[in-house]
């Protein structure tokens, strides 16, 4: 089976994060009641006309800058005709003659660079609900939502590479703010083209409806095996479109691939060409942040963070930027990373806090840095610092003040600590005796008791020292 080299390319569709649809002012929103986000234009009424959404173009330009594509001098649209009830006008407005961008690339973790053949803007189709074997229902809310289609060259050679490439494209789009890219909601979708190269390349099979990274990997793996077996037994691979059935864990044939001319592409006369001015392109490019891959390298090699932490930090642009902003006020990158990856993320699981992502945090990186410092120098114990963190979500106040107000400042000494230590020594006579007789580990019992009694406010270092003193002083 290893005689055949898989030749794999991706067609990725990303819904652009605009407020309104691509060609009309209906909301671009997921989850509304069916057919409540439709107007004469996106429902394909006679006489209705498309008007291009400026922001969709700007987001697409931003994506083009992020991938490093060469841009067309102007934006032109075409009509792609096919017959299905998800297409309100009988054609989809897309870009065929001259895509917005050509070239550009996506970098994989091992340094491999996957070239993009094209990226272009097009409109999404309506959502079809197949309710039985004999009918379908049409919901026009999705019709006309702006999409960015990104097509890679067929340069991927394995299921893992295909899945990784999709993940890399996704993180670039997410970091650039081009789209939300949630595969579960369908705001990121992926088709895969796959053939096997031996003496001559086999027919190309298109895999559709792969709505998770796992499906992409599984479907490609299955398809490589299926095609290898066909070729090995001397049978041809049909050129066709197949879909992944995640339950039966197999691909199956969907329909015969249409000839390109069947789409009868025609220039869209309702939309005159839009010139792409330099200043506009520059503005879009300026919105592209440092991309995840260079950040990943920096975090690993310069900051010495381990891979798991890095992936958590790179989950979103907000997360990475919060991390870096915090770092500007803190000393220890690993400590900051751990706080973000563990304690801060734990906040999102607490329903009463009503915070679900880094972007929704009400405190600032500076505040987090201060809190980390308080914990690092022992002013707040770890559990106390966690409590302060939760308080920071509710009241945007300096951690130092919150610590004091909540009465959580560390007990580093003084009468209260003294009293706690004496009580612990009296209550644990055996352990005290053991320490006196040189069993250092028995000290932990006494320290633990003080920590519990102080509700973790006590500074364990100070406790340890004070108990030793008391035990040495008193007979």
């Amino acid at each position: 089976m290893t005689r055949f080299t898989p030749v794999i390319g991706l067609e990725v569709h990303c819904q652009l994060a605009t407020l309104s649809k691509l060609f009309c002012a209906c909301a671009n929103r997921f989850g509304a009641a069916p057919n409540t986000l439709a107007c004469e234009a996106c429902s394909g009424q006679p006489g209705a006309l498309p008007v291009l959404n400026r922001e969709a173009v700007d987001l697409a330009l931003r994506a083009a800058a992020a991938f490093g594509c060469d841009l067309a001098p102007h934006l032109v649209f075409d009509r792609k005709h096919y017959w299905y009830c998800d297409l309100p006008k009988g054609y989809q407005i897309t870009q065929s003659r001259e895509p917005l961008g050509c070239g550009g690339e996506v970098e994989l973790a091992d340094g491999k660079r996957v070239r993009l053949e094209r990226i272009h803007i097009e409109e999404d189709a309506a959502k079809i609900l197949r309710t039985s074997n004999s009918e379908s229902l049409v919901d026009l809310n999705r019709a006309g939502v702006p999409l960015l289609e990104c097509v890679t060259a067929p340069l991927l050679a394995s299921a893992d590479e295909a899945a990784e490439c999709l993940a890399r494209m996704r993180e670039i789009l997410v970091f650039s703010g081009v789209g939300e890219c949630d595969m579960e909601r369908g705001s990121l979708r992926c088709d895969v083209n796959i053939s096997l190269a031996c003496d001559e390349p086999s027919a190309r099979v298109e895999l559709k409806n792969l709505n998770s990274f796992v499906h992409v990997r599984d479907a490609v793996q299955f398809e490589i095996r299926r095609q290898s077996e066909l070729l090995a037994s001397g049978r041809p691979v049909e050129r066709e479109t197949r879909t992944w059935d995640p339950e039966r864990r197999e691909t199956r044939s969907l329909r015969e691939k249409e000839r390109a001319s069947d789409y009868r592409y025609l220039p869209e006369a309702d939309l005159p060409p839009v010139p792409l001015e330099r200043a506009r392109i520059a503005r879009a490019a300026a919105c592209v942040p440092e991309l995840p891959m260079p950040r990943r390298r920096r975090y690993t090699s310069e900051l010495g963070l381990d891979a798991t932490l890095v992936e958590v930090l790179l989950e979103s642009r907000a997360s990475a930027e919060f991390f870096e902003a915090t770092l500007r006020h803190a000393r220890d990158a690993r400590e900051v990373a751990r706080w973000l990856a563990n304690d801060v993320r734990a906040l999102f699981a607490e329903p009463e806090l009503d915070v679900h992502s880094i972007a929704e945090l009400s405190f600032k990186p500076f505040d987090l840095a201060e809190l980390i410092e308080l914990a690092a120098n022992g002013r707040a114990s770890r559990p106390a610092a966690r409590q302060v963190l939760r308080a920071m979500c509710r009241t945007p106040r300096a951690p130092r003040e919150l610590l004091r107000e909540l009465g959580l400042e560390s007990l580093d000494g003084g009468a209260e600590l003294d009293e706690l230590c004496r009580t612990a020594i009296a209550a644990h006579a055996d352990a005290s005796e053991a320490v006196r007789s040189g069993h250092a580990r028995a000290l932990d019992v006494l320290v633990g008791a003080v920590m519990a009694a102080s509700k973790s406010r006590a500074n364990p270092v100070a406790v340890r020292a004070r108990i030793r003193e008391l035990l040495q002083a008193a007979p």
Binding site: T18, S20, A25, N35, A38, V51, L140, L254, A269, P272
Partner: protein, 102 residues
């Protein structure tokens, strides 16, 4: 199966199938002849030299206007569905039985 047809009829049949217009078999030869003569008439354009001439797809090439990304109210659902031949649960219903190629 129908008997093999002449190229003009075959061409008309393919065009009709491509553009989803059901045509009774007895009408096909007449339509094919009409299509044939229309195509023949159009051929006169081939005599016009167009080398180096950009195709003109749209007038007012400088008209291009984009709109701001603002949401305006959509149509009331009743209006969206008012003309639908069949509807169910706030959606347009279509027959979609097996056998039809997508």
């Amino acid at each position: 199966m129908t008997a093999p047809q002449d190229p003009a009829t075959e061409r008309a049949r393919r065009a009709a199938a491509l553009v989803r217009i059901a045509i009774d078999a007895h009408e096909l030869p007449g339509l094919a002849a009409e299509l044939d003569s229309a195509l023949e008439a159009a051929k006169s354009l081939l005599a016009v030299p167009v080398e180096g001439v950009e195709p003109l797809w749209t007038l007012n090439e400088d008209a291009a206007s984009e709109r701001l990304d603002e949401v305006r109210p959509s149509l009331a659902r009743d209006l969206v569905l008012a003309n639908a031949p069949e509807q169910r649960d706030g959606m347009v219903r279509v027959p979609d039985g097996p056998g039809g190629a997508r």
